[in-house]
Subunit: 355 residues, 2 copies
C-alpha cells in the first residue's frame, strides 16, 4: 500500500511529520513517498501542483495532505496560487465525496463558543460534493453584460451546475453513511431560488426511496446556517453541494471550538482518497512547533479505514488520540487551565506511545 505524503505549506510540514510517525509506528509496511505541493510546489518547480506530485498522488492508494497557502503567494496569478493544488487534486483524482465530521470531544467542550449543553456530545457528519457545482462549472470569466441591470457594463460570471449522476452518487454516499449512524439525512439546498438546487432536491428525494430505513429531510441553506447555531445536535448526516458545503462545514467545525481536532476525507469511486485536517496552513504559527497535529493524525486514521482497509489500525489511532486527551495533554489551541501544554512533536510522540 502506497501513500503520497504532501505536507504543503505553513504548519503542514510539522503536523504531517507527526502523522507519518504514527503511521510508521503501526508497522503495516506502508510505503510512503513525499512530494511538494502548494507554495512548496511553486517554489520547487513553478507550479502549485507539479506534474510529478500529481503523478505520485494518482498512483498512490491514498494521499496524506497537510495544508497549503501563505500570504506571500497572494499576489501570484490565480492559477499559480497554492489553493489551486487542492482544487486540481480533487478534479484530477475525481474526489467527489468529502467527509467532514464535526465532533465535540468531551474534554474540549469548554473550547466552544456555544453553551456546553448545546454542544456536548455533538457528532455531525457533513458530506460535501466536491467536484461539481459552481467550483468547476463552465463558462466563467469576464465579459461585457448584454442584459441585466447594466447592459454594456463590465461583468464577471460563473456557472453553477449539477447533473443527475453527480447528485445521485453523492446522495448514495450520504444515505449509506447514515445507515451506519443515526439513520437521518438532511439535504441542504436553495430550491426556492436556484434551478440547480431544485433539481438537487428532486434527485436526492428519488434516491432516498431506495433507503426506506433512513429518514430524509430538506432544509434551505440559510435555515441550515441558523439551525447549526441554534441546535446543532439535531443533525446527523448533512449532505449538500460544493459551495454550500464549503460554508456549512466550516461553520459546523468552528462550533466545536476545536478545529485543530477535526479530520477530513475526500474519496473517489475507487476508494482512493485524500486525507487532510479541516484547518488551514496557519502561517502565523508555522515553524514554532506549537500546531496541533491531532486533526492530521485523525485524518490518517480515516485513511486507514476508508482507503487502506485497516479498520483495526484506525481504531487504534483514534483510541490513542482519546488517551492523550484523557491524560490532559493539550497543544495551545485547545489548552485550558488544569491541563498540560505540549508542542506539536510532544503531542505526536504521546500518540505513538499511547498506541
Amino acid at each position: 500500500m502506497k501513500i503520497a505524503v504532501l505536507p504543503g505549506d505553513g504548519i503542514g510540514t510539522e503536523i504531517v511529520a507527526e502523522a507519518v510517525k504514527v503511521l510508521n509506528a503501526l508497522d503495516l509496511g506502508l510505503e510512503m513517498e513525499q512530494a511538494p505541493v502548494g507554495g512548496a510546489g511553486y517554489e520547487a518547480s513553478g507550479h502549485p501542483l507539479p506534474p510529478a506530485t500529481l503523478k505520485l498522488a494518482k498512483e498512490a492508494d491514498a494521499v496524506l495532505f497537510g495544508a497549503v497557502g501563505d500570504w506571500k503567494y497572494d499576489t501570484l496569478d490565480r492559477p499559480l496560487r497554492p489553493e489551486q493544488a487542492i482544487l486540481g487534486l480533487r478534479k484530477e483524482l475525481g474526489l467527489f465525496a468529502n467527509f467532514r465530521p464535526a465532533i465535540c470531544y468531551e474534554q474540549l467542550v469548554g473550547a466552544s463558543s456555544l453553551k456546553p449543553e448545546l454542544i456536548a456530545g455533538l457528532d455531525i457528519l457533513i458530506i460535501r460534493e466536491l467536484t461539481g457545482d459552481i467550483y468547476f462549472g463552465q463558462p466563467r470569466g469576464r465579459r461585457t453584460a448584454t442584459d441585466g441591470h447594466f447592459p454594456g457594463a463590465e461583468e464577471a460570471f460563473d456557472t453553477m451546475r449539477y447533473s443527475r449522476p453527480e447528485i445521485e452518487r453523492i446522495a448514495h454516499v450520504a444515505f449509506q453513511a447514515a445507515q451506519k449512524r443515526s439513520k437521518r439525512v438532511t439535504s441542504v439546498d436553495k430550491a426556492n431560488v436556484l434551478e440547480t438546487f431544485q433539481f438537487w432536491k428532486d434527485v436526492v428525494t428519488e434516491v432516498g426511496k431506495q433507503y426506506p430505513d433512513v429518514a430524509l429531510d430538506h432544509m434551505y441553506v440559510d435555515n441550515a446556517a441558523m439551525q447549526l447555531v441554534k441546535a446543532p445536535k439535531k443533525f446527523d448526516v448533512v449532505v449538500t453541494g460544493n459551495m454550500f458545503g464549503d460554508i456549512l462545514s466550516d461553520e459546523a467545525a468552528m462550533l466545536t471550538g476545536s478545529i485543530g481536532m477535526l479530520p477530513s476525507a475526500s474519496l473517489n469511486d475507487k476508494k482512493q482518497g485524500l486525507y487532510e485536517p479541516s484547518h488551514g496552513s496557519a502561517p502565523d504559527i508555522a515553524g514554532k512547533g506549537i500546531a496541533n497535529p491531532l486533526a492530521t493524525i485523525l485524518s490518517a486514521a480515516m485513511m486507514l479505514r476508508f482507503s487502506l482497509a485497516q479498520p483495526e489500525a484506525a481504531d487504534r489511532v483514534e483510541n490513542a488520540v482519546k488517551a492523550v486527551l484523557a491524560e490532559g495533554l493539550r497543544t495551545p489551541d485547545i489548552y485550558s487551565e488544569g491541563t498540560t501544554k505540549v508542542g506539536t512533536r510532544e503531542m505526536g510522540e504521546a500518540v505513538v506511545k499511547a498506541l
Copy 2:
C-alpha cells in the same frame, strides 16, 4: 407620505397590525394602504404578487412587509409560491441594498446559543446586495450536459454574475454606513474560486480608496461563517453578495438568539424601501397571538429613518421598544424566568404606551 402595508401570511397579519398601531400613534399623518401578498395574494387573485399590490408598492414611499409562506403552498409551481412575491418586489422596485443589523439586546443576552461574553454588546450590520448574483442571473434551467463529468446526462444550472456598477453602488452604501459607525468594512467573497467574487473584491477595493477613513478588509465566505461563530464582535459592517448574504445574515441573526427582535430594510437608489422583520411567517404559531411584533415595529422605525426622513420619530419608536424590554415584558420567544410573558397585542400596546 404613503405606506404600502403588506402583511402577507402566517404571523404576518398579527405583527404588522401592531406596527401599524405604533405608526398611527406617532400622529405623522401617514397614509397607509393594505394589500395582499404571498399566499394571501395567491388566494385573493391567483398570484403571490398581484398586479394591484405591485402597483401600490411602486407608488408608495415605503413598503411595510410582514412575512410570506405556508406549508400549504409547497406543492404549487415555483412561480406561484409565496416567496416569489418577495423576489418580485426586490426586482421590480430595484431594492439592491439590504440592511440586516444583528444586535444583541442587553436584556436578551441569555437567549443566545453563544456564551454571554462573546455576544453581549454585539452590533453588526450586514449589507447584502439584493438584486444581482445567482438569484437573478440568466441563463438558468435544465438541459442536457455537453461537457463536465457526465456529458449527455440531464443537468440543471444557474448563472452567478455581478457587473461593475452593481458592485460599486453596494460598496458605496457599505462604506457610507461604516462612516456612521466604527469605520470598518469587511467584504466577504470567494475570490479564490469564483471569477464573480474576484471581480467583486477588485471593485470593492477600488471604491474603498474613496473612503480613506474606513478600514477595509476581505474575508472568504467560509472563513466569515467561522469567524461569526468564533468572535462575532470583531465585525462592524459586513458587505457581500446576494447568495452569501442570505446565509451569513441568517447565521448572524441567529447568533443573537433573538431573531424575533431583528428588523431589516431593503432600499433602492431613490430611498424607497421595503421594511420587514428578519424572521419568517412561522405558520406553526400563526393565529395564536403569541408572535413577537418587535422586529416589525423596529422595521417601521427603520422605515421612518431611511425612507420617510423622520429620524426623531424613529428614535422614539426604538426607545419605546427598549423601554418595554426594560419593564420586563417578553413574548414567548424571548421569555426567561423573572420576566413577564405577554402576547403579540399586549406587546404592541405596551410600545404604543411607552411612546
